[in-house]
Symmetry: C2
DNA sequence: GACAGCTACCTGGCATGACCATATAGTAGG
DNA sequence: CCTACTATATGGTCATGCCAGGTAGCTGTC
């Protein structure tokens, strides 16, 4: 049950944060979904599956944050490359600012216990 | 629409994080809901309403993370004070560890763009 | 050529939690 | 009496992460 609570909490805590990470991962250039999954799997606490990344990317495209383009792979199925639009880049900036603020707030509370 | 996306994203990103903050706010001693709302309102990015805090506290009590006790107020309605149980304190520790890991991961991605 | 295994994409459905609006109630001041 | 502040509580809506499952191309092996 303790593990249940923790597992569930982790799931909830990832909401939104994953969108930020995926958007940020696209900042370096065009990438495809499967690649992002593999990359994020190497970063602590950010492991995601394919059933998570594709809905996110679809949403991004629907909202005009990214452009998508199919490209053949030297070996394997075709890949769908995504890259940031100006709008996506602008939104990423605002999200990063918001993240910095929230992070500072959480750090403050967790560090002091808000005893002031 | 850009504001819509950002507002919605912020809402989602707070999920889980708020639970961590509320639990952390209780670390310093017993507190009641309305007080926590007022306290968190002073911390950037963590402003919450009363419709948010009470479900969180109810969940905590249901899961045995906190104890609750009614106490009269010198002026105004009675207050319900919450304080951490050992179980809640233990879980808070694990959540803090998890938070540190996720925070580091997000920082890494957002800082490098994952270009490696 | 049958099969396993990896790459790569996509979708339906479920559970969860933040937030709005709203309700209730005690106290104080005009 | 009415407004305002304190204080707790709830029902409904909505977005999201994730599991399970499905499709399909390519490689290597027996």
């Amino acid at each position: 049950m303790e593990e249940d609570f923790l597992a569930n909490w982790t799931t909830q805590a990832r909401k939104g944060l994953l969108e930020l990470c995926v958007l940020a991962a696209l900042r370096g250039g065009r990438r495809y979904g499967y690649d992002i999954v593999k990359r994020l799997s190497g970063v602590g606490g950010l492991v995601i599956g394919e059933g998570t990344i594709y809905p996110i990317l679809s949403r991004f495209k629907k909202d005009g944050l990214v452009d998508a383009a199919l490209a053949e792979s030297p070996d394997g199925p075709a890949r769908k490359y995504y890259q940031l639009t100006p709008r996506g880049r602008g939104l990423l900036g605002k999200m990063l600012a918001s993240w910095a603020e929230v992070r500072a707030g959480v750090d403050h509370i967790t560090a002091t216990g808000d005893e002031s």
